[in-house]
Point group: C2
Chain length 185, copies 2
DNA sequence: GCTAAACTGGTACGGCTGTACCACTTTTGG
DNA sequence: CCAAAAGTGGTACAGCCGTACCAGTTTAGC
């Protein structure tokens, strides 16, 4: 039987190989953006033959989508832990400490999601997850306008820090303002 | 003499050709993102031979950068006019009315600027320009935190509208909140 | 009018891309 | 034990890419 790129390989070794490939794709994505995620590069990074990528993933788009999803989940977990330890106003330090090219890869795929319905779902999951983290930190419901507005400040300042490399001090100051705003009734 | 991709061609026809190529690049950028801006596609769109692109532009990166800059200036002008006519709270309607793929192209290049110093300068120009427009509308100085925070709301809501295609009603409501916040002392 | 510079456009090269193909080996289930 | 399914890996194909090259033509300056 010719398998149609099994999402869950039947054999143990297959599952391992698939996971290795996905991990390699995530690595390449964080290093060089989604342009760097090619079948050949992924296979080489994983130490597997080229054909392995086409065997376990139906297409490059699917590989990219799964890598994006995995990256988003990892990012949300990291952010959750950081907020628990340092609070919302400590977030600029997280961004400063985080791998810049990794963030770039994430945002690249986020924007690319505007052209791909499959990625769009993952993009929404990212936004919703971040909003939820802010809501928890403020002890307010997810839908509260103060939560949403604070999130917009976080999001834009974050992106500016990554892309334009603005001075972190300015970001910290503005974020403090935003948190103060959100804490008012 | 072998010219090094003249930025300002000496002959009238050359200037016209260069402008035509740049216009074609902008078109393709707005239609299919920066992946669509290839030498061949630009030349074909402009109705010129392939070699014309390499003659007037030193590299694809330069062509892309100039197209980005042109797009940013056009976008700033459009936004300025719209704010003058409809005010800040009318902006969601501008976004809704604007060409969605055009905005996607802009944001794609904005994020890509994180990997390219030349583009980064243009990205900063875009941000600064938008902040300035908000400052003018609020009659506050550019550096005022209220201006910067309102801009963050605009920016994120805009991006979410474009990428995630969230319902415009929600955007309008949040934007009204943000404007109210910014108008408080 | 004539030389040099500016421009034109056809063609070619080397490289990378996604993906298909297929003979082969290993594992699984009855 | 043995057929069928699952997995393996080397290779090939067709297409697009940026860019270089160059013989020819047009224009500008003296």
């Amino acid at each position: 039987m010719i398998p149609g790129a099994p999402n869950a390989p039947a054999q143990e070794r297959g599952r391992l190989r698939r996971a290795t490939l996905l991990g390699a794709a995530v690595e390449l994505l964080t290093e060089g953006g989604f342009a760097a995620v090619t079948h050949r590069a992924v296979a080489q990074r994983a130490g597997l033959p080229l054909a392995a990528t086409t065997y376990y993933f139906a297409s490059r788009d699917q590989l990219l989508a799964e890598a994006f999803a995995q990256l988003v989940e990892a990012e949300l977990a990291t952010t959750r832990d950081w907020i628990a330890d340092h609070g919302l106003t400590g977030l600029p330090d997280l961004i400063a400490a985080a791998d810049r090219t990794r963030q770039l890869g994430l945002w690249e795929l986020y924007v690319h999601a505007g052209r791909d319905p499959v990625l769009r779902q993952i993009a929404r999951r990212w936004t919703d997850g971040c909003v939820h983290l802010v809501a928890q930190a403020l002890r307010l419901p997810d839908g509260d306008p103060r939560v949403r507005l604070l999130y917009t400040a976080l999001s834009t300042l974050w992106l500016e820090l990554i892309v334009e490399q603005r001075p972190p001090a300015e970001t910290r100051e503005l974020l403090a303002h935003a948190v103060e705003n959100a804490s008012r009734p």
